[in-house]
């Protein structure tokens, strides 16, 4: 009898403790239970998320680390184990959905189609889609591309934009869809295309890698703006709040400018290239007014 009483006391004490904190659910519960958080990263999205000596680094990875710190704090798990999982543009959505990675920070555009499959954090970067061309090519804007070969990277918003522009305005461009940004630039460099349409930040990266960066120039009025965000599973408000809070706090902090400068205006590994890509007005506004909407929703 005495034993039974002791047991019931213990049980009620347990319940009381549980009711105290908010009940954990979704990804946070999974992380707490397993003691591991899995971060999805890219291998060559310079300077956002790429590998240097097998280690994922970049602008987005710095922000991902802020998120991990906040998860540790929320779960009171200072020794939370962090695992990095490489994703590609094709695997990133399913790997988030099936739980292989808990969230992904790379260079993923927040758009309506993807919102049907996954949830996005507040935006952390904003780009405009523009053109990279040789200084001597005579191309100043999209109108000059009529009848010419233009390269873009397969599966990007730029590909869709330029193909629909070509169909609507009957520009008679020949559009090449290369497999990645490196190959797109190779097509441009080898003379198969006169211009390379892509996110301006990525164009700056390719330009920095070129043998003679001064030969190249980014031109044209942006055809669209796109907001990059981190991806997580849908319908997981607890985890999304931890991620958004971490990003918002980072955006407000003085450290944000140094993170930006570190990746976009200083020499970066592995080769010490400098993107020389100052912060755009659009990004400044985005960081001042965080939103998880896609650019098309704004």
């Amino acid at each position: 009898m005495k034993k039974l009483l002791q047991l019931s006391l213990a049980v009620s004490a347990l319940f009381a403790a549980g009711a105290h904190a908010e009940e954990l659910s979704g990804t946070l519960k999974k992380i707490k239970d397993s003691g591991v958080i899995v971060v999805g990263h890219r291998d060559s999205s310079i300077p956002f998320s790429y590998l240097d000596n097998q280690k994922p680094i970049g602008y987005s990875m710095d922000l991902a680390n802020k998120i991990v710190e906040n998860v540790k704090k929320e779960l009171k798990l200072p020794n939370l184990q962090v695992r990095y999982n490489l994703v590609t543009s094709q695997t990133r959505i399913p790997l988030v959905q099936n739980g292989t990675v808990d969230f992904e920070c790379g260079s993923t555009t927040n758009n309506l189609e993807r919102q049907k499959q996954v949830s996005f954090s507040v935006g952390m970067f904003e780009i405009g889609t523009r053109l990279l061309t040789k200084k001597t090519s005579g191309v100043k804007d999209f109108a000059d591309l009529s009848g010419k070969n233009v390269v873009t990277t397969a599966g990007t918003t730029s590909e869709r934009l330029i193909k629909s522009m070509n169909a609507e305005k009957k520009l008679d461009m020949n559009i090449i869809s290369a497999k990645d940004h490196g190959e797109s630039f190779l097509m441009l460099e080898s003379g198969r295309a006169v211009a390379f349409m892509m996110d301006d930040a990525l164009l700056a990266g390719e330009m920095a890698k070129a043998k003679k960066p001064d030969d190249w120039v980014i031109v044209g009025k942006p055809q669209s703006y796109e907001i990059y965000g981190c991806m997580l599973r849908k319908d997981d408000p607890q985890f999304k709040k931890v991620i958004d809070d971490a990003l918002k706090a980072a955006f407000k902090s003085a450290e944000m400018n140094s993170i930006y400068k570190r990746w976009f205006e200083s020499p970066i590994p592995p080769k010490g290239l400098n993107m020389k890509f100052p912060m755009s007005q659009e990004l400044k506004e985005l960081l001042a007014n965080p939103t998880d909407k896609s650019a098309e929703q704004m």
Binding site: A154, N166, K179, R192
Partner: protein, 248 residues
């Protein structure tokens, strides 16, 4: 896994012209078939020639064909494609190079590169099959033909090759199917064949599983169709007792 399935996605407008996503798959399939068939013609002709060379009595022909096989079989297909697409055009005389890179429609120049690349790659594999087929024939077959006064080309054309090809139809079938599968490397140099269209649909719609499921079904149906066709060919040319002879 909380994935949102939506099979109607194939009938949705792509936002480019008046196309729906299904149109992309049709276009892609067309490129895939055109690529594979053109590459197969090259592979079969060149591969047979090389296969014969490997069995000729003289040393030189056999060595040249042997070196060809080593080179084309051991360098990864992707590397070969890269060479044919990015490096070889630079060796052309200037006006031809400019024409190939700039005046020719990019899809056509990519098509030419992939066809040559895939044709020469597969030729090395066909060569080995043809050689095996010829060497599987009893020595007496060639001897009987020589004894009647047939010349070397006649012996190959009339006696050895008709038998060798019948023996190797099954392995040739699998090479034929491989050409279709391997033609997907074209997506890596921007030729919008079936795989490229699938990836593009997946990226644009975020309905990745639907896109790849449809592509799988198309590849599967295509392969089944080709296999049935090859079985039919095999049956049509079958000669009583020939296969049993192969092992003697």
């Amino acid at each position: 896994m909380n994935y949102n399935w939506d099979w109607r996605v194939f009938f949705k407008p792509t936002g480019i012209g008046n196309e729906i996503y299904l149109d992309w798959f049709v276009t892609g399939l067309g490129w895939t078939i055109a690529l594979a068939l053109s590459a197969w013609v090259i592979a079969l002709l060149l591969g047979s020639l090389l296969g014969v060379m490997r069995t000729l009595p003289g040393r030189y022909a056999a060595r040249i064909a042997g070196a060809y096989v080593e080179l084309f079989r051991n360098v990864p297909l992707l590397v070969q494609l890269f060479v044919w697409y990015f490096i070889v055009p630079d060796w052309l005389p200037e006006p031809l190079e400019d024409w190939f890179k700039q005046d020719l429609h990019p899809a056509i120049s990519a098509f030419i590169s992939v066809t040559i690349c895939l044709g020469l790659f597969t030729a090395a594999r066909v060569c080995e099959q043809v050689r095996t087929g010829i060497q599987a024939l009893p020595r007496g077959q060639a001897m009987a033909a020589y004894a009647l006064g047939l010349s070397l080309p006649q012996v190959y054309r009339q006696v050895l090759l008709p038998q060798a090809f019948r023996i190797i139809i099954p392995p040739l079938t699998s090479e034929f199917l491989n050409v279709f599968k391997n033609s997907s490397v074209a997506s890596l140099i921007g030729l919008m064949e079936l795989l490229a269209q699938t990836k593009q649909t997946a990226e644009f719609t975020a309905n990745l599983f639907e896109a790849f499921t449809l592509a799988t079904l198309i590849y599967f149906t295509l392969n089944m169709g080709l296999m049935l066709f090859m079985r039919w060919v095999e049956k049509r040319v079958r000669v009583p007792g020939l296969i049993a002879l192969g092992g003697k």
